[in-house]
Subunit: 243 residues, 2 copies
């Protein structure tokens, strides 16, 4: 049982867009899956925590890619814990292509909450976690703390059956998919995502009406998703490169 | 190279709904992926056909399940060609769980078209295909030829970036996902899909406005998806069992 978990995934046709490149939201699914597998392998995964009524909650995520993999290709994701603070832990990722060459990095911040009170747990009170601190950093900036978006309301939608995951809330990567859908296929044909940052602030549940706001900001497109009563659910920042 | 292809898939968390069971649309993705792999393995997959400007088009599909697999489980899909007519071919599937026990069957009808003219190719003019006819049937009814739905308009939507696949049209299984989203999570918590039939009539493209009609019919819910000018794109029939 090493500090670094290494997981290989075969990308499925349904992960790809019309260019056969993986959707950024599907790539995010695999990154989060690697995180879950590594937590399971080390004995602090969701399945181990649920009997104690604890669970991990993703707070922030950043992913930076130099190459977007395509459907049918294999990717390998290496992941480890860099640091553990009282309120949150930082987990990093290297993504490698079939030739084992790094094609991107990701970094995430997680908190642990009590499922009944939804309040955070002090991670310092779980000393066994400290065995898994590697201290290893990655060469990208930490997840941005994104500003509020005072931009234009560009769409609303009602959350649907297929948005809801086993946590009975909207799946984290659905927010990113909604944002990607605000760009046309012509845009996607000419641009590739270089980096995305996501901040998760509140959970959305089934049947809620949510609103998406957008502001373009010098190469960093900012989005914010609010629930009906204006509470902020999620903020997303996208950086693109022209092909 | 046998007549029967056998493909094993590990179900991903993103394939599952809030009950951790696979969405019927994600199950359909794996069935179609097995079809594609077997066609590739036998030398008549899309990648072999594209240089001749030919491609396979799915016309009808039926899937009948006695057990819905869950995320993280493996499923094995066996597939083969039952018959080849002039206009279409029938491809069958057995789905097996991790204990190798059959949990369902699927059957599909495919035509081959010319990519330039979009007109059908006479399959009798491709004698090499006949080597792959097994004649083996499965114990479920063939895909239903579904009636027109004179039901209620229940929703409209514009096709989005994430709906479009590498064929540059709306992915077949998105229609099924849209239909599944017309049922509440409460419905999904209490019912499981026993059988779905889908008829594919025309392709939808990016940015089209599509309309969904519904009619309840004695245990067989009927849906029809039309494009703006009323042309029928797809018909879906769902049969549920109460849990």
């Amino acid at each position: 049982m090493g500090l670094i978990g290494r997981y290989t995934f075969q990308l499925q046709p349904q992960d790809g867009d019309f260019t056969e490149q993986i959707l950024a939201s599907s790539l995010g699914d695999y990154i989060l899956q690697a995180a879950g597998k590594n937590a399971d392998d080390n004995g602090f995964g969701i399945r181990e925590l649920h009997p104690d009524h604890h669970t991990w909650v993703l707070i922030r995520m950043a992913t930076e890619m130099t190459e977007m993999p395509k459907i049918y290709q294999q990717i390998t994701i290496e992941t480890w814990i860099e640091t553990i603070g009282r309120a949150s832990t930082t987990r990093n990722f290297i993504l490698r292509n079939e030739q084992n060459v790094p094609i991107g990095f990701a970094t995430t911040n997680w908190a642990m909450i009590d499922l009944n009170t939804r309040k955070p747990i002090d991670l310092g009170a779980i000393p066994s976690l400290s065995h898994f601190i590697s201290g290893n950093s990655i060469p990208i900036a930490p997840p941005a703390k994104l500003p509020s978006v005072e931009g234009n309301l560009i769409s609303t939608r009602q959350t649907q059956y297929s948005d809801i995951d086993f946590n009975r809330h909207v799946n984290s990567m659905k927010y990113l998919q909604w944002v990607l859908n605000e760009y046309s296929v012509d845009w996607h044909a000419e641009h590739t995502i270089k980096r995305f940052d996501v901040n998760f602030l509140h959970e959305a549940f089934y049947g809620e009406e949510v609103s998406l706001y957008r502001k373009e900001d010098a190469g960093k497109d900012q989005f914010q998703i609010n629930r009906q009563n204006k509470e902020v659910l999620c903020k997303v920042q996208l950086q693109w490169t022209k092909n």
